[in-house]
Symmetry: C2
Subunit: 224 residues, 2 copies
Amino acid sequence: MDNSNLHNALQNVFLFSSLDDHSINLIANSATRIDINKGELLFSDGEDACAFFILINGMVKVYKLSNDGNEQILHVHQSGDVIAEGAIFDKQKYPANCIAIQQSSLIRIPKNTFVEMIMTNPSVALKIMASYSKRLRMFVSMIEDFTLKDIEQRLVKYLLKNRKKNGTAHFCDLRISKKELASLLGTVPETLSRALTGLKNKGHISESDKGIEINDLEKFRTLL
Amino acid sequence: MDNSNLHNALQNVFLFSSLDDHSINLIANSATRIDINKGELLFSDGEDACAFFILINGMVKVYKLSNDGNEQILHVHQSGDVIAEGAIFDKQKYPANCIAIQQSSLIRIPKNTFVEMIMTNPSVALKIMASYSKRLRMFVSMIEDFTLKDIEQRLVKYLLKNRKKNGTAHFCDLRISKKELASLLGTVPETLSRALTGLKNKGHISESDKGIEINDLEKFRTLL
DNA sequence: CGTTGCGTTGATCTCTATCAAAAAAGGTGG
DNA sequence: CCACCTTTTTTGATAGAGATCAACGCAACG
């Protein structure tokens, strides 16, 4: 991707949508494009955080590992998401690992460039803060789920949040593997599998190759 | 507290330490002082977030409640802490409850005043972002703990983080009740109590009226 | 086709919540 | 300072949710 392409890509990022051409160019000049294959690491826990990223296309997961190798996914990012923006303002270490779960393209923006940008563009500061707020809320919600809800409730919540209306039906095509969904929900594949068959047996959902269908949305909501 | 006292109090808050007198006055004019007793609510989950707070003295806890009344503490705040700053930039609802666990004094700063302040003082924006970063990290760490660590490990981590050196000894005086510590660690008082006696029986800690002493710091660290 | 990873199912085990009750620690008012 | 009441903390016994271990079907893929 040459510099003019980078410029175009940056213009389409919500975070920068209020910037003028000149400012975009400043970023474009120090930004670089990164392409990684499925399974490749973008950054790892504890590594120096001298840049953050914007995901152009593909999918990456952000996750922690325990001493004995268990994985907890914090977030699965998709096109348009800003990644690791939280890492660049206090300590300069990434707080988790990030790996591509699909072939992905990202824009890498160095910390310094961005801090300068904020000093001269308060509107960018407000946007990044809105993005922080959103992520804080998400984490609060995860903590709530992990300590106050059981697996079935977490699964129901996920299905409700990720459903798409298809005519009159409500479908949820898990864009990620069940193994990864299990990790995102704070459990293991076996338990997730049992939770799914539980919901199927109670008639709440049906699974096909198209995804998971919620049979009666109103009744489904009451499970939360 | 009259306006000049408020002015003085604000000057001592890290968040505003880089502001000139004029800017501090702007905030002081719209800020108000709040005094609440132990057990009194500061704000509640879902309530409109039109202000954030700075804790001058006392102690408050931020927590979520489940449908069946169980509590999960997200944070126990102490003097100097900025509270609910995350709530004012995207949706305008507080994402959790906040109640005083001691008689407390706070400064209440309306959202609008603060957003204006940021538009004209980028350095405040950077500080608030550093504060966001720190909180994001804290939540990531909590999620990690709840999904990848058992109660004993969480307790050990808490004791290590909150210890104070007293001569050659390492003490941790839980500033909060064990009931609240249990909720902070994502468990119940009974389980916390057992975890503590477990550590005592293994000789890792000893408890007195002065607090909890870590007997051998090096060995203690290996429990994590 | 064998191999490799994912998903499901079954059996078992472990950690933690829950329930119940006693013990300890604070107040409060006389 | 003491008797009384309330709240916190501890201890014991039990139950339950979910992790782990093991095995098998299945699809993808070299």
